[in-house]
């Protein structure tokens, strides 16, 4: 949608439109996740040490052989952390994917069909969203057991309503658009209208929501494992490491700092990815002015660019902004 606006803008200015690129946020996020993925894959196929058996002195510091030290049982921290990061990455990606699949399905149906179907789906969504994600994950986790796969299922179910809400809003706007009406009137079956005409047009908020949910899943998985309800021993998990190694903090602080860093990096990586995609897909308009320092001198130029910006702003543009506010409204579920 914004592509049209940029084309129009470039036309007015008499220039070829600049090619849009992903910004540093996107590449930063992708880079962090990529490096973690490579390290984790490397450690799970060719581990430096057996992650489940002692290979050095307990609570050892960094050395040539164990360059992140060892834990209280003498197991290599680096190998175990890489495995924990892998588990966390897989769980976050898979749970977000599951939530996206379920949520998109119901969101598209609710938005397209409307009426009482919409009302019922959205009330159920409201009801689930009324419970903090971590509580639902706790209760659902108890129902279907612990371990990575039940966790994926539980967290996928928890985050599906958010996806449904994010998908529904743009579909309602799209439903009235000419191309959708034309398809419907020319006898295209509803499921094909949804799959071929609506879905491709709501992929923007879908991707952003996906990455932002994945970052929340990382945090919730860590919290569940911290409470002893997530990934179970002996499988390494960053959250459980923190709760287990609190006792050894004064002897070997690395055992607390490193798992924390892994969680922060993973969550921030997904978050950066979401931000980067958001900026790429719906760039923000510059503010009309800026306070402080140099703003006074730069004001004329800024005002001018902003003015040409707004004169060509179209109806499409408001919709992407709308979907952005929708998205950020539902995306936040504190743990």
């Amino acid at each position: 949608m914004t592509v049209t606006r940029e084309l129009a803008l470039a036309k007015v200015a008499g220039k070829r439109p600049a090619r849009r690129r992903f910004g540093p946020a996107f590449w930063g996020g992708a880079g962090i996740l990529g490096v973690i993925l490579i390290l984790a894959g490397w450690m799970s196929f060719w581990p430096m040490h057996d992650p489940f058996a002692a290979s050095g002195t307990p609570l050892g510091g960094p050395s040539a052989e164990h360059f992140l030290g060892t834990d209280n049982l003498g197991r290599d921290t680096f190998t175990r952390l890489a495995l924990a990061a892998r588990t966390s990455l897989v769980i976050s990606g898979a749970a977000a994917l599951l939530g996206a699949a379920i949520g998109t399905f119901f969101g598209l149906i609710a938005g397209y069909v409307g009426g009482w179907v919409d009302a019922v789906i959205m009330r159920v969504v409201d009801a689930i969203l009324a419970l903090p994600a971590i509580l639902v994950a706790l209760v659902v986790g108890v129902v279907i057991g612990n371990g990575p796969w039940p966790l994926i299922l539980a967290l996928g179910l928890v985050f599906a309503p958010g996806f449904a809400r994010v998908m529904r809003a743009p579909v309602i706007a799209l439903r009235e658009r000419d191309f959708v009406l034309a398809a419907t009137l020319s006898g295209v079956r509803p499921h094909r209208v949804i799959a071929e005409h609506l879905l491709p047009n709501v992929l923007t908020p879908l991707f952003v929501q996906f990455a932002s949910v994945a970052s929340q899943v990382v945090l919730i998985e860590a919290a569940l494992s911290y409470l002893g309800q997530g990934v179970q021993a002996p499988e390494p998990s960053a959250g459980r490491m923190i709760s287990e190694f609190t006792r050894f903090m004064q002897l070997q602080p690395l055992l607390i700092i490193l798992p924390s860093l892994v969680i922060i990096l993973l969550s921030a990586g997904w978050n950066l990815l979401a931000d980067g995609m958001q900026d790429y897909l719906a760039p923000r308009r510059e503010p009309a002015f800026s306070l402080g320092g140099r703003s006074k001198r730069r004001l004329p130029r800024r005002a001018k660019t902003a003015a040409s910006d707004s004169s060509t702003a179209s109806a499409h543009d408001t919709r992407t902004e709308q979907s952005r506010t929708q998205q950020s409204r539902t995306e936040k579920r504190p743990s």
């Binding site: 009801a127 009324a130 209760v139 129902v143 860590a222 919290a223 924390s260 990096l265």
Partner: protein
């Protein structure tokens, strides 16, 4: 206006009904017998257990159990806890105040830090304050609160040794209770501040990019006045929704911080209930947390027309 309120009331009531069904059925699917704690593993006495089951109404069909439970809940009676002595309503009455206090304290801290930070970042777009606020909120958003909590407790145990853990109830010593709650509230508060700052920055930037702001600027309004009088009022409307949602979610969402600081709040009560599969406790806590959420959202919906005159016009 009345129609707006009535429609909000009905919608909220319906959500509550769906919520009660959800909570009830969720709990029934949990494997594990709530009476396991009463059975003597060496010498199980089925007759005695059956009698207990009948007494607790657990032998009834689920649908009957649901309506009996719902009828009680409406009257403020959540039944008896199975594994802990006492009425569930009594247990909750001792724990809800703590959770509410914690949530309100955290929200106040989060708002007090978050909104100014967000305004600072938005008005100094792409300059140093913006970068600092964005970077900080980014790291805070990615940091689990229990990491902050663990590190803080340990650092404190090595240095200052302030009495941080050990909540003894607000009745005996309100000042000490407040002190004990301050640190957990601060931890949740700064994470919340990160969320609020990000959101405020986003909406304020969107507002500052709008035509009416430029018009006002062209007519000679000073930037400071523009932000405080023109832009902020518009930008903060969606922020209030977010703050409301966060406050509501915090009432039950503090399980982890409660575990770190061993606070007897709603979250830890739920955790106890889950670990012993104590149906009444789980049902009551989860439902109550949901109810708090719905009620706060309802209140925010009612506040909306007061803050934003446009809603008032449309809602008529």
């Amino acid at each position: 206006m009345t129609r707006y309120i009535i429609s909000r009331v009905f919608s909220s009531l319906f959500v509550l009904l769906v919520l009660s069904v959800l909570v009830f059925s969720m709990v029934r699917i949990i494997p594990g017998d709530p009476l396991a704690a009463f059975a003597d593993p060496a010498n199980p006495d089925p007759a005695k257990l059956d009698a207990l089951r009948t007494q607790l109404g657990l032998d009834q069909p689920w649908i009957t159990q649901y309506f009996v439970w719902l009828l009680g809940v409406v009257q403020g009676d959540f039944g008896r806890a199975i594994t802990i002595p006492g009425e569930v309503s009594g247990l909750i009455a001792t724990r809800l105040p703590l959770s509410l206090t914690l949530a309100v304290m955290a929200t106040v801290i989060g708002t007090a830090l978050g909104i100014p930070a967000g305004v600072l970042a938005a008005t100094r777009w792409r300059r140093l304050p913006d970068t600092v606020v964005r970077g900080l909120s980014f790291v805070l958003l990615a940091t689990p609160p229990f990491v902050l909590g663990t590190v803080l407790i340990l650092v404190n145990s090595l240095t200052l040794r302030l009495p941080l853990v050990g909540y003894a109830g607000a009745a005996n010593d309100p000042l000490r209770a407040f002190g004990v709650l301050l640190l957990p509230a601060l931890l949740i508060g700064i994470v919340l501040a990160a969320i609020i700052a990000r959101y405020t920055r986003g909406t304020l930037l969107d507002t500052l990019g709008q035509d009416f702001v430029r018009t006002a600027r062209a007519k000679g309004a000073s930037p400071g006045r523009l932000v405080t009088r023109h832009a902020l009022r518009n930008a903060l409307i969606p922020v209030t929704t977010v703050i409301g949602i966060e406050l509501a979610a915090l009432v039950g969402g503090t399980v982890v911080i409660e575990a770190v600081f061993s606070l007897p709040g709603m979250g830890s009560l739920l955790l106890t209930g889950i670990r012993s599969s104590d149906y009444p406790i789980i049902q009551a806590t989860v439902l109550l947390i949901g109810v708090v959420y719905v009620v706060i959202n309802f209140a925010v919906d009612l506040l909306y027309p007061l803050i934003d005159p446009r809603v008032r016009v449309h809602a008529r």
